[in-house]
């Protein structure tokens, strides 16, 4: 029974990593930019949820209506103001820009909120439910469900809508997209908007069960990178698969083998994937 419990925990955590991986892979796939500041948007969305709870008494579930649109706009304008200037640039300036953005956003949060841990108390999704002997953390379960909804919605958007198809064309070949009359700049900005909105959605839910501090982005960002690489860069299904595998490895290894080294195991798999199968499990 305990094995089953560990697997369920791994699946749930995996879905949470997966949705952050999805947001990363969207930007990576569409415009070949590796965004090191993604974790900071997650952190900021958690703080926004905290502020809404602390000053207005909004439950995170209600805050979702605020955080997702606000962060969509945030991502959209990040592209317009900043990223659009480095689209044609070489590798080093691109990396440097996202590093700079990462440091800037982190320390703005640090400046406002300080280094102390903060956490939201008594959210609606709290406690645990028991299904035939398996205990599920309600907050984590809801986060995982929302993550899955995010995946389904994005897949539907990319394959069924006109804008989504245009986005895919842009990802595959910028020149072809231009010749079809697709507004590539708008597509890039849209990809940033959607990506950051996804991360904010995850962040809003994560804030129901995890305390926050300005440097929490690192932990999630690196695991999300591992998920992206494992699944295959630019692939939506790959992000889900990668995230779930990472979640399972972390929980199974941590429970049965060596809890202190569970993250090390994740990184070993990450590096082995890079070396042995750099295209990932699912190739786009």
């Amino acid at each position: 029974m305990v094995e089953f419990q560990v697997i369920i925990n791994g699946l749930i955590e995996g879905c949470i990593f997966a949705v952050i991986a999805l947001s990363l892979t969207l930007i990576w796939g569409v415009m070949q930019i590796v965004n090191f500041s993604q974790g900071e948007y997650l952190m900021l969305s958690m703080y926004l949820t905290y502020v809404l709870w602390n000053f207005f008494g909004f439950d995170p579930l209600i805050s979702l209506l605020v955080t997702v649109p606000v962060f969509f706009a945030f991502g959209y304008f990040t592209y317009k103001v900043l990223i659009s200037r480095i689209i044609g640039a070489s590798f080093f300036p691109q990396i440097l820009t996202t590093f700079g953005l990462m440091i800037f956003l982190r320390y703005v949060a640090f400046n406002i909120f300080g280094p102390n841990f903060r956490r939201i108390l008594n959210p609606i999704v709290e406690g645990r439910i028991s299904v035939s002997g398996i205990y599920l953390d309600t907050a984590k379960l809801c986060t995982a469900i929302v993550a899955i909804i995010g995946f389904v919605a994005l897949t539907w958007f990319m394959t069924k809508t006109k804008t989504g198809k245009a986005l895919q064309t842009t990802a595959q070949d910028r020149e072809v997209a231009l010749s079809f009359g697709i507004d590539v700049e708008k597509m890039y900005a849209l990809a940033w908007g959607i990506s950051i909105a996804l991360v904010a959605m995850a962040g809003t839910f994560i804030s129901t069960f995890r305390y926050m501090d300005p440097s929490l982005g690192d932990a999630f960002l690196l695991l999300a990178f591992a998920s992206v690489i494992l699944g295959g860069t630019g692939s939506i299904a790959g992000a889900l698969l990668g995230g779930v595998i990472i979640g399972l490895v972390e929980n199974l290894f941590g429970f049965f083998v060596f809890p202190a080294y569970k993250i090390v195991m994740v990184y070993i798999i990450f590096i082995l994937t890079l070396l042995l199968k750099p295209e990932g499990l699912i190739k786009e």
């Binding site: 440097l96 800037f104 690196l222 070993i268 590096i271 070396l275 750099p278």
Partner: protein, 323 residues
Amino acid sequence: MFHKIQSHLHFLPKNWLTYLPFGCFLIFSLIFPLFFKGSFNRNVMIFIFLYTIMAEGWNILGGYAGQLSVGHVVFFGIGGYTNSLLLVNWGVTPWVGIFLGGTAAAGISALIGLPCFRLRGHFFALATIGLAEITRISCSHWKAIGGAIGITLPMEFNLYNFLWRGKLPYYYIFLAFTLTSILVVFIIDRSRMGLYLKALNQDQDAAESFGLNVFKYKMIAIVISTFITGIAGGLYAQYVQYIDPQSMFPFMISIEIIIVVLIGGRGTVLGPLLGAIIFVPLSEYTRTYLGGLAKGYDYIIIGLIVVILAIKRPEGLVGLRRS
């Protein structure tokens, strides 16, 4: 007008202007302690030296060879740990231990380079991050090397232990190491190897098609680069006299090294020095004058500078603009 001035200075070497900044730096550094007696300002200078050493080291691999290592803190940490463990457990003098630390860092980097140099661009960068995290977490749980508690160096202040109460001995020793690291990069820059590394940075496929053994030169670059970074780790450990995984392996140091080089200009001798001269005082003085550690203004300003520089002057302040 410029040529007119130059014609009056014919007794100087032909490209004396290139050496001018280094000369100014040397003279300024030598006489600085005469005018600044306080430990705060000397501390800032010592950190400029330390960052210059680390940045010159990273510059060989990341600047000249163009391989973005985001895990250089690993080699800094290995250097620091090797030196401290040798001193605490076997009484090996840091005068030797620091170089053994550099050697250990270089040896491990060769083992890392062997498989990882197949990767390019983002993928190499991500692999180095993964390796850095593995090392940091492993060291935090490894009891034999102090675990999360760390190692405190013996408080016997003498030449053998490389430990002093004041800052002045550290100041001049760090300066000597800084000048040596600049000299090493200068020699590489002017040698045939520097040329090969620059070719590799510009276009790996083209360099390979001209018959350059790309792998060999990447390996040479990483070994020299991490040797210097490892030495910096040992020096840092001796200076702060206490090390733990949180201070020797933070992800942020990897990023700071890169930022220092890119501010000045990667693939140049002067760039890392200039970057450190800008970065360290900026962070130390804004921290002091704008309300201490808990405000983070230093990093907000650094973040802004990095972003603006990446967009407006991606080659760094002294780097060459590429067409």
